[in-house]
Symmetry: D2
Amino acid sequence: MNFGVIGYGYWGPNVVRNLASLEGSQVLSIAELNPAAQARARKAYPGIRVTADTSEVLTSPDIDAIAVITPVWTHYELAKAALENGKHVFVEKPFTSNVAQGEKLIDLATRKNLRIMVDHTFLFTGAVRKISQQLREGTLGKLYYYDSTRVNLGLFQHDINVLWDLAPHDLSIMDYVIDGNPEAVVATGQSHLNCHEDVAFMTLYFPESVIAHINVNWLSPVKVRTTLIGGEKRMLVWNDLEADEKVKVYDKGVNITNNEGLYSLLVNYRSGDMWSPQLEQVEALRQELSYFVDCISTGQDPFNDGCAGLRVVKMLEAASESMSKRGSLVYL
Amino acid sequence: MNFGVIGYGYWGPNVVRNLASLEGSQVLSIAELNPAAQARARKAYPGIRVTADTSEVLTSPDIDAIAVITPVWTHYELAKAALENGKHVFVEKPFTSNVAQGEKLIDLATRKNLRIMVDHTFLFTGAVRKISQQLREGTLGKLYYYDSTRVNLGLFQHDINVLWDLAPHDLSIMDYVIDGNPEAVVATGQSHLNCHEDVAFMTLYFPESVIAHINVNWLSPVKVRTTLIGGEKRMLVWNDLEADEKVKVYDKGVNITNNEGLYSLLVNYRSGDMWSPQLEQVEALRQELSYFVDCISTGQDPFNDGCAGLRVVKMLEAASESMSKRGSLVYL
Amino acid sequence: MNFGVIGYGYWGPNVVRNLASLEGSQVLSIAELNPAAQARARKAYPGIRVTADTSEVLTSPDIDAIAVITPVWTHYELAKAALENGKHVFVEKPFTSNVAQGEKLIDLATRKNLRIMVDHTFLFTGAVRKISQQLREGTLGKLYYYDSTRVNLGLFQHDINVLWDLAPHDLSIMDYVIDGNPEAVVATGQSHLNCHEDVAFMTLYFPESVIAHINVNWLSPVKVRTTLIGGEKRMLVWNDLEADEKVKVYDKGVNITNNEGLYSLLVNYRSGDMWSPQLEQVEALRQELSYFVDCISTGQDPFNDGCAGLRVVKMLEAASESMSKRGSLVYL
Amino acid sequence: MNFGVIGYGYWGPNVVRNLASLEGSQVLSIAELNPAAQARARKAYPGIRVTADTSEVLTSPDIDAIAVITPVWTHYELAKAALENGKHVFVEKPFTSNVAQGEKLIDLATRKNLRIMVDHTFLFTGAVRKISQQLREGTLGKLYYYDSTRVNLGLFQHDINVLWDLAPHDLSIMDYVIDGNPEAVVATGQSHLNCHEDVAFMTLYFPESVIAHINVNWLSPVKVRTTLIGGEKRMLVWNDLEADEKVKVYDKGVNITNNEGLYSLLVNYRSGDMWSPQLEQVEALRQELSYFVDCISTGQDPFNDGCAGLRVVKMLEAASESMSKRGSLVYL
């Protein structure tokens, strides 16, 4: 499978490194506008053509698939051109800048029988696979809430706010591990340094009393990557910054009891062992790209296809609308 | 100063222990309905009268001040009776169940020239004093945000939701350390076990782009007590669960720079030393009660008076209204 | 069971509090030389006689057992007098200042058919009970090593060095959980502020290649209470400063493989899940004193009897001898 | 400066990567016996000659300096051949297998006017530089102790024990930051899986009551890299596993006071702020190799020269002797 890669900035080198070393794929050319990044690409990969001419990569007859690793606002035009030229597309998250763009790309790929994969890398980590397994197998029981904090002194993006930058990770994971789709969204936030919000909070209402919450922040002095997941039977903490023991499952919970007394409590606590399962130690992006090569070969749509990417964009679009109204409820 | 204490449940024993051992105060009687709690009080304080008759305490001519350490829904009636009987009142947080009650109590106390203190204990901790000092002295520069997480497998209350139970701590601290009052509130949440929300999230919009956020949860497998405070010049993390080093001040920040390039970033990071100031190691409740005795003696209103308590109740009432509408913006 | 308590300094109040509230025991009198401590005892326990006259307590005909909670160098004379007066003895760790004293007390107690219990409180904690269970049940497989770090900015003792102050905890636990007795000891250390060592390190050679090590330090800026226990099948970490998850069992290990290559490694790593068992949440001292009352009633020697205390003193005496020679091997 | 590199196993690739990208140096050839490692080198560096013939590299007239990145037992012969062929030598730690070998290499280099640098990489980290600065500038006051724990489930070496593998890091740092040389060594340890000790403890007596201690372990379930440094005025903790805040300086200490009372304490504690200085974020190995290139150019001996390497080997040799006698004192 021959790849062209557009964009060799922060994340592009990781995509090229994996595509270049995977069995079954190779990178023929890289399009990149920044001269310094071009130089880095040429030095690292003497055998790969590096060009500033994006259309050369998009139209090359030797190329089967295009990886679009550029800012969000360019995704639509680049992915559209790639599809129109008959190329499969691997596109950085978030999928597109708005819902309409995403729908058009999905439609185009369907008509052309091409694959779209949206780079929701976290779905291929050992942690998310283990969490998904726990939820599917019922270890946690009925889901109560999903609460993620993802803050750091962050890479400010100049075309999107902090929600569009950081929340796609959490939204794609929620979309993957929670049954059902969110019904409504409330988002709040504030910008301090330019026009885009650098601090934001997002609540999603799912069916059956499941509530999800995301806290994203580009102005935090410390890095936090912690997700709490509460269920009826057990509860889970995922701390992605732990070297080991990223996922911990707690045999803890509460049982409601009748209690007539005035000053006493309604609930009994249940507390038991904690268990931290070993996680797969593979590079998630490598797994994801290998899976993409497989999907192209077999003609199957990946589970993180354009539709998955679109569901995330829908939530982001709704969140932006809610945030612009300082937190009004927006139905999905 | 002679005290009567109403309520000897979870927090009451701490109030009695401090009032009994402080110079300048003593406890004459305790009213408590639960027989087991009565027995504990009698065993610990053979010299204090323990009774189930609340009115006996409220009307005793020897008593100067009443500490009301009971569930929220009882605060108004008890505090009102105390004031009507000419007693000063120390009342557990949150002050009252609604704004109207709080206003009536303040009015009554003013007319009777009596002191009300609302038990916002955290304001007397070494951590909050140090944080307040940092903000006042400009160490952090202009304030950007205040973000608190206060979750644990929690003491379910049967008369209030998790916001009314846990958020008063954060709201009273914000009220104390942030200049200006919040303009509007958005709150979201969900109940899973009974009619009261056990998970809730609250955003407060302050003037000048200051945003505050509170995450409270009775269903968390782990206890978290972390507050991030971001400013233009420095940022602060308060982790109240650390044995030492509860407060850390980071010489970190961002500087906006012009940047014309397509793929590059807009912001420069600034990173320097971290500094963890030593904190006073006194018991906060002891400090607070000692201050209350002083205020009664001097006839001065404490800074955590009924008005401070009322401001917190206003925010809680607005948050409840917002949460009941699944996150609509409520102006204060 | 009527108790007399000698010593109401740092630890004595905890002993009195438990003996006074346990069913089956009461405290009749407390001997304490320090007037301030006497005053505290009188205020807390109006019903208990407090005196500076130790012999009054030792000879009182109403008293069945004496708790000796005083500095080490006084243990022998006080315990001897108690036994000679026909009282059972609960004595603070370390048991005595030297082996000869310990042997005499054991001999005396045997002749008088009295019980001695040495206050090795840690043996009654949920953590040590769980660790002991893991080792007995073979969860860890054959034991390889036991390595404890117990450092803090510490309570300097003026009659003993840091080994005699802090190591008894670890030595009593090792004595309890490791099969067999140590064969030899090496200890090193240094004094910086007075004649007693404030930093010390101790290695114990047990049979079958088991090695134990203790790191104790009165001059550490941070408090550490961590024990690593390595076994053939699994390994365990006990961090006593964790609020929860004090004990973690790791399904980790190494397997030796033949390997002829020059630059390659000899050993395969094995890594699996981690498991943190829930621990009993009882106060260890309360459990221990309740057990002492039982032992007196039934006439059975406790497992933490004088012989257990003596084994710890033997290790300390050997360690002191080794340390005075800057680390020579001393056989036990 | 043209380099030959011998050994492309675990650490060699890092040396090659830096030498190849530094200004002022390039790698002409790599000698490596293992075919798989050869293949990796060829793929990564198509322009560098890769050979199994070590002597080809050692004798090449184009090569100015040789990096010896092989097991310890090969260092002497390889470095000797390099020096005899007129090449400067960069050699992996520990310098040699014994003192005699080290002395011969130093002598040979002196006679040939060639530079030897021993790869004590840690001396070039931001953390060690900052610690050294604190000690030199007197921030900590008179040094009391240096205590390092360096344990993990470790890379077993088949030619050396855990002391020779892990302790050189700490010994080279001590040699760098502590004034004066150690007078005597005591080491204890145990082997469990083959003939080499996998758990070991080492005490070093320095002049003026300074004591140092190293705890190394290949069989620990958790990785620990923590050093405590105590001084008269302040104390320091270096946790190398922290992402940020690796070095913390505590304004803590003790003051001796006269105290005549029997049960009371001798020492007052002093506690103040903690301060975590920002550290340089450069790759230590890169700094070190750049410095080596400078030293060769200027003809100056590096501070981590053969003599520095030899001092570490002397401590290791003495420790091995002590450990073989189960902890006897060995003078240096």
